[in-house]
């Protein structure tokens, strides 16, 4: 009897947690499909419409160009950061480089520099070079945040790979670069994939840099949200539609790496 009660209590708790987690997300999705008049009521029964999505993708909001900016900035950032970080992570993991502790410490510490400190000089520099409001500017500053993090994360994954097969291949006369390419990379692939997606999510959701460095041409999705605050008030149904566009691709990716996520986190943080 007592055990049954505890069992039920645990179930109820899990349901409650799921509601707390899902409710804000579900509400946003519902609102995105509501007509303006329904968006301001709390009813769950309404005539669903796609009008909000059509509106946000047309003039004057032009969400399409923001989606484009977000995709390009995040993809290029990942494409530059991950390969560089993977090489560095391998070096940190396998070699006893002179001053290794100091270098690793240096990299770790940069992760803790507040973004607002980094963006200030870059704002001044980009203004001088006429690079404000360009995607390139956003990519450069995003690398600052993402690279140290990815080095840290991939190092955790490489640390977990046993060195036996690498040593065996080296004894057989394979060069170190060959070993990295043929043995380490395939084995670390799930970890590198997880880190890449993680890095993509970070860049995709990045707000402060884009808010400061973009005006019109390079605006990314999170900053685009702010433009739905107009003199007429906040246009919630349009914000929600934009929110759905920000969220869906990221949710798919996140669910894809969910399994590796727990491992990656602990590897990066505890080891």
């Amino acid at each position: 009897m007592k055990r049954n009660l505890a069992y039920l209590g645990e179930r109820a708790l899990l349901v409650l947690i799921s509601i707390v987690v899902l409710f804000p997300i579900a509400w946003m999705f519902l609102t995105a499909f509501k007509q303006p008049r329904d968006a301001y009521s709390l009813s769950l029964i309404f005539e669903p419409t796609l009008q909000n999505f059509i509106t946000v993708f047309s003039d004057p909001w032009n969400l399409g160009s923001m989606v484009m900016n977000s995709v390009i900035v995040a993809t290029v950032t990942v494409a530059i950061a991950v390969p560089c970080a993977a090489l560095a992570a391998y070096s940190f993991s396998r070699f006893r480089v002179k001053g290794r502790k100091f270098l690793f410490f240096l990299i770790l510490s940069t992760q803790f520099i507040p973004a607002v400190v980094i963006v200030l000089p870059f704002f001044l520099m980009f203004r001088q070079l006429g690079m404000l409001d360009t995607r390139l500017a956003l990519i450069i500053v995003n690398l600052a945040i993402v690279t140290p993090f990815v080095i840290w994360m991939i190092k955790g994954f490489i640390d977990a790979i046993p060195t036996d097969s690498e040593e065996a291949a080296m004894i057989d006369g394979a060069s170190r670069l060959r070993v990295i390419k043929d043995i380490v990379l395939p084995m670390a692939a799930p970890g590198i994939m997880t880190s890449s997606i993680f890095c993509f999510i970070l860049t995709w959701n990045e707000f402060l840099f884009a808010l400061i460095l973009s005006r019109r041409d390079a605006v990314t999705l999170p900053v685009g949200l702010v433009s739905f605050r107009t003199e007429r008030g906040d246009l919630w149904e349009l914000m929600s539609a934009a929110g759905v566009m920000i969220t869906v691709p990221i949710f798919i990716m996140a669910l894809f790496i969910q399994k590796h996520f727990t491992r990656g986190m602990t590897a990066g943080a505890v080891k």
């Binding site: 804000p24 950061a81 070096s91 707000f207 400061i212 505890v270």
Partner: protein, 294 residues
Amino acid sequence: MQDRLLPYWLLVPAFIIVLATTIYPLAYSFITSFRAWDMTESRSPQGFVGFDNYIYAASESAFLNSLWVTFIFVIASVTLTVVLAMALALLLRRKGPMHTFTRIILILPFAMSPALIGVSYRFMFNPEFGVLAKGLGAIFPSLQGVPWLADPDLAMGILVLTDVWHWTPYMTFMCLGGLASIPKETEEAARIDGASNLRIVFGIILPQMRGVILVMAVLKTIFALKMFDQVVTLTGGGPGTSTETLAYFIFNVGFRWFDMGYASALAWILTAIMMFISTWYVRMLLSERKMATA
């Protein structure tokens, strides 16, 4: 010969990125922090003023207010996140379909853009048509018509809530990882001896999780010190200046009032605080590791 230098070559690309994107801006803003530079007056930096910017900060009430706001925010958000994450992890480490489902959906809040979280909580707490404002009013009549985001304390509370909602999942994953690495034997032995659940958690599990909890607390502190996105999209620093965190204040000084010298000095004060905490953090990690291998 080539192999001997390889470890260094592998580090070069990453270090070029890190040097160019973090060390250079740090040095630049450090120098700027000792100059006067009102960008509305001059396109290039004005004269050096020594420690004036720092001295000014020490007496400016708006800055001191943002320090206090950040302090309150950090304490509330770190405590709540760590405690909730630990409790969730203890609940979710068991097997079962509902446990698995909850673990899977937990990644969603973490993947959501913080700016968007701010927007959606602002919507839900709107006193006229916000679903949470209305819902809470219906359940607790005393909460009817509460102007949530217009009240300084409640606005801070909601700001903390958005951050806890965003970060608890990530921290829960860390806890789950930590729990998985604890050997099961002691716990099982205690269970056979008839120890209660409460005693097992507080007497056996939590002491072994000390390292993970410390790491989480410090990591969360560092993230909370940077709090910016939701301040912009949820409260706009208000009502008044009641939710103006340090990062938001620096942003205002630099990009609304264009006082670059002062903004740089403030940015360096924040950096110093974070450097202090992160140095301590890395030290702790290294010593924990030594303990683990010993």
